[in-house]
Amino acid sequence: MSSSTTNQHILSPGSICGKLTAFLERQTKRDIEPDLDIFAAGLVSSLFALELVVHIESTFDVAIGGPDLRLDNFRTVDRMTELVLRLRGESDD
């Protein structure tokens, strides 16, 4: 799936957050605050949940393994940003 993790360039939390917000706003056509629970707000269908996972993986060049596919990691833009930062850090070693 992903042995091609070449995370040379550093992404700041701000730019990850910005890219995620832009994607979500484009897909849902509404403003997304970084702490909005997008699941509780009813913005995430089953299909969109998978689109989101695939989008995060390809945009930030990370592999989201099974144990990380928990709802808590995707509830808000802030949580997703934390997930991306953690996964990019882990793949450096």
């Binding site: 799936m1 897909q27 056509k29 699941f39 269908s45 089953s46 299909l47 969109f48 949940a49 998978l50 689109e51 989101l52 996972v53 695939v54 989008h55 993986e57 390809s58 393994g65 099974g66 144990p67 990380d68 596919l69 928990r70 709802l71």
Partner: protein, 369 residues
């Protein structure tokens, strides 16, 4: 890459030979045939080589799936199920689970994926199978119906309720409390081993839960089903290729009323529409597979669209092929008779026509309203 899929397709061609009709009429594919294809990695060919698979791209695996579907939709259904089980383990499983179970699935073990329940078919949110903590292990209770490959399977990927969310759990079919009941005389894909599965107090170790944690049901079901939709769509391309070849061969070899069938305009129209259907379905399948290989999020809707188009066109195309062959194709076991029954089932599984239409309409409304 191309060589590897065509080598795999050759293995399928040899395994099927002239036996597809017999498999259909008896409702059985010999277990040793399935295990042999399994050990060669053909049944879940997208699994990377590091796990014992062939490491095919979605595009190459799609061509393999179409080539299989053109010969035998029952065997193609086994590819779909085994591939979906392997993909689910790949996607949801931990590193240790991938190593152990993908080695088994590329080593001759057979697997199916269990979603449907008596009261939860298209509406998976009504799923009632329960995965519960039981001391240091797990306990599974529920009933699954119409599980493809169920009658052949060594392992089932069972979806159920877990905690306040859901999970997929790996259930060996020889575990105490598992009872497999073959579906008698299915309408189509008769040798695909459809079975009902009874799970009564099945006890498993904690590490049978893929990824070890509760996950959103919609997300994990869509993850597995998206693979299944791509595979079914390519399988329907295979059905269309078989129907086109049968109809064109027959029309050019049989005279009726002093003229070849192929000279009759109404027969030629069937051949034209079969050609359009085969080509258009192929293009949609290529598109979704390219999205898959490039990991673009468009793949999720593209899979629904390709599956819906290919399944409905395969059902129409198979009906047209039976029309062209008439009495020559109107007996059980004939390629177009099988296609006619098999294609109808493709309009029901991995999201019925109606469920697919609802998803496509939601997508259109989200984009344009």
């Amino acid at each position: 890459m191309t060589e590897r899929w065509s080598e795999a397709a050759e293995l399928v061609a040899i395994a099927v030979g002239d036996r597809a009709e017999t498999w259909d009429r008896t409702g059985r594919i010999p277990l040793e045939t399935l295990r042999e294809l399994g050990t060669k990695g053909v049944l879940c060919a997208q699994i990377p080589q590091e796990y014992g698979g062939l490491g095919l791209s979605s595009l190459d695996n799609g061509e393999l799936t179409a080539a299989t579907g053109a010969r035998c939709s029952s065997l193609r259904s086994v590819l779909t199920s085994q591939g979906m089980a392997a993909w689910t383990i790949m996607r949801l499983g931990s590193a240790a689970q991938r190593r152990t179970h993908l080695a088994a699935l590329t080593g001759g073990s057979l697997a199916g994926v269990a979603f449907s329940e008596p009261q939860a078919g298209s509406d998976l949110s009504a799923m009632s199978t329960r995965i519960s903590e039981d001391g240091s292990g797990l306990r599974i209770d529920g009933r699954k119906v119409w599980i493809t490959v169920g009658a052949y399977a060594d392992l089932l990927v069972v979806f159920g309720r877990f905690g306040d969310d859901a999970a997929a759990v790996l259930v060996p079919t020889d575990a105490p409390g598992v009872r497999i009941e073959r579906v008698a005389d299915p309408l189509g894909c008769r040798a695909a081993g459809h079975a009902d599965v009874h799970l009564d107090g099945v006890r498993l170790p904690r590490d049978a839960v893929l990824g070890g944690a509760a996950m959103p049901l919609g997300l994990i079901a869509t993850t597995a089903l998206t693979y299944g939709r791509v595979s079914v769509a390519w399988g329907c391309v295979g059905i269309l290729r078989s129907c086109l070849a049968e109809a064109a061969r027959h029309a050019s070899s049989r005279a009726q009323g002093g003229a070849m069938l192929s000279s009759h305009q109404l027969v030629r129209r069937h051949l034209a529409e079969l050609t359009v259907a085969e080509q258009a379905a192929t293009r949609l399948c290529e598109h979704v597979s390219r999205c898959w290989d490039a990991r673009t999020s468009d793949l999720v809707m593209a899979a629904v669209l390709a599956k819906h188009f290919a399944a409905t066109r395969a059902a129409e195309g198979a009906s047209a092929a039976v029309q062209v062959l008439a009495s020559a194709g109107s007996r059980d076991g004939h390629p177009v008779a099988r296609a006619y029954r098999d294609a109808k089932l493709m309009e029901l599984i991995e999201g019925s026509n109606e469920m697919s239409q609802l998803m496509l309409a939601d997508h259109a409304l989200a984009a344009w309203s």
